[in-house]
């Protein structure tokens, strides 16, 4: 099965790329393996408790993709800088209690790992 990796660098709402990534991944998941790597400000996307009155909840959208098989990882340096800390324990598929289910914090080495095993790569950043 072919693999698509999507690299994001922006937080939710301030840019539309979390939404676009969701639509890309949702389409791709029907036939392909999908990885999403959250880098720089994109580590804010899975933060729990988002309540965007006028927008679609970006964290829930992206968390929902993991149920369909997407592998979603956040850069540990970027996450740590912004106050998202990985823990030993994994609850609902996540090692960060600040995150929606299914999304794990890992090192930036995982990005290289994902890229080297991918057939196609898409990066979205403002």
């Amino acid at each position: 099965m072919k693999t698509l990796t999507i690299v994001l660098t922006d937080g939710p709402y301030i840019s539309e790329y979390a939404d676009i990534a969701y639509k890309l991944a949702e389409s791709a998941l029907e036939q392909y393996k999908v990885n999403i790597f959250l880098y720089l400000d994109a580590v804010h996307i899975p933060k729990k408790g988002q309540n965007p009155s006028f927008f679609t909840n970006a964290g829930q959208l992206i968390s929902g993709l993991t149920e369909k098989g997407a592998v979603i990882r956040a850069c540990s340096r970027c996450a740590g800088a912004r106050g998202y800390l990985p823990e030993e324990e994994i609850i609902e598929g996540s090692n960060c209690r600040d995150y929606y289910p299914g999304i794990k914090i890992t090192s930036v080495y995982e990005l290289s790992e994902m890229l080297s095993k991918s057939d196609r790569v898409i990066s979205l950043s403002r």
Partner: protein
């Protein structure tokens, strides 16, 4: 019969933007380009991007056109499912994918 390999470009920036310029420069040097416009990329239809790149097939995302109230010229294709079409093109028929 094997379909010819294409080079797929996704452009989500408006005109007069340095990444749009970079996209168009690279597209200009590339053969068999399919240019997908989504997000603020659809504003390129106001400056008739499809005429600037006559060799290139141009697609635009319907929801993004509607939100921004942009009409597309006859040469621009508006797929029923933009993202499904883009993904198939990227995964099955493309040599390279570039996103700007």
């Amino acid at each position: 019969m094997k379909q010819e390999q294409t080079n797929v470009f996704l452009l989500t920036r408006p005109p007069l933007n340095s990444r749009s310029d970079l996209c168009l420069k690279l597209a200009d040097r590339t053969k068999n380009v399919r240019l997908y416009l989504a997000g603020d990329g659809v504003y390129h239809l106001l400056t008739k991007i499809e005429e600037e790149l006559p060799e290139c097939k141009v697609y635009a995302c319907k929801e993004d056109l509607e939100a921004r109230s942009i009409r597309a010229g006859d040469k621009v294709k508006i797929p029923d499912n933009f993202y499904a079409m883009f993904i198939e093109d990227v995964m099955e028929h493309s040599e390279h994918t570039y996103t700007f």
